[in-house]
Symmetry: C2
Subunit: 98 residues, 2 copies
């Protein structure tokens, strides 16, 4: 398996590690999303000063308004954070070259 | 670093492994995209019967029509493939449970 294939597999496995806990096992409930954010994105969560961060993220991503996130609805969170991290990565690379 | 953080870091590192070869080092030229697809997504590439697959993917993803892909333009490819893989993953899990 290539590095990118492993990366996509990991993304799926991580999502389902939290989605399996309750409900239909295919989606993240608010409780499961909270656990995922606390365990997988602790640094991001600490930068958010709004105590309702989990609610806000759920509302933003929950396109069909069923109060849970399927994998398709979860992906924009990963994409958005990856994009922000990539901007930092490029800046650090530039600094390294100077 | 959490599993999801590692996953996002890998995504950035993989993209830049190919983007650094020519041009500005921040984007994938058609040649770099071709190499990325051949090395990282060989199984996907083999399922595509159109000989112009690389051109089609580039045209689809290249939102600002500069004939190259930045990381933001590249992400929908990863998201789309991950989503397709996740559907298979769920189907296999269901079969496993029967």
């Amino acid at each position: 398996m290539s590095d990118l294939e492993k990366c996509m597999e990991n993304l799926i496995v991580i999502f389902h590690r939290y989605a399996k806990d309750d409900g239909d096992g295919r989606t993240l409930s608010k409780k499961e999303l909270k656990k995922l954010l606390e365990v997988e994105l602790p640094t991001f969560l600490k930068t958010q000063k709004n105590p309702k961060t989990v609610d806000c993220i759920l509302q933003d991503l929950d396109l069909n308004k069923d109060d849970k996130l399927d994998f398709e609805e979860f992906l924009p969170l990963v994409a958005g954070l990856s994009l922000a991290c990539e901007k930092c990565y490029v800046l650090h690379q530039k600094k390294g070259k100077q």
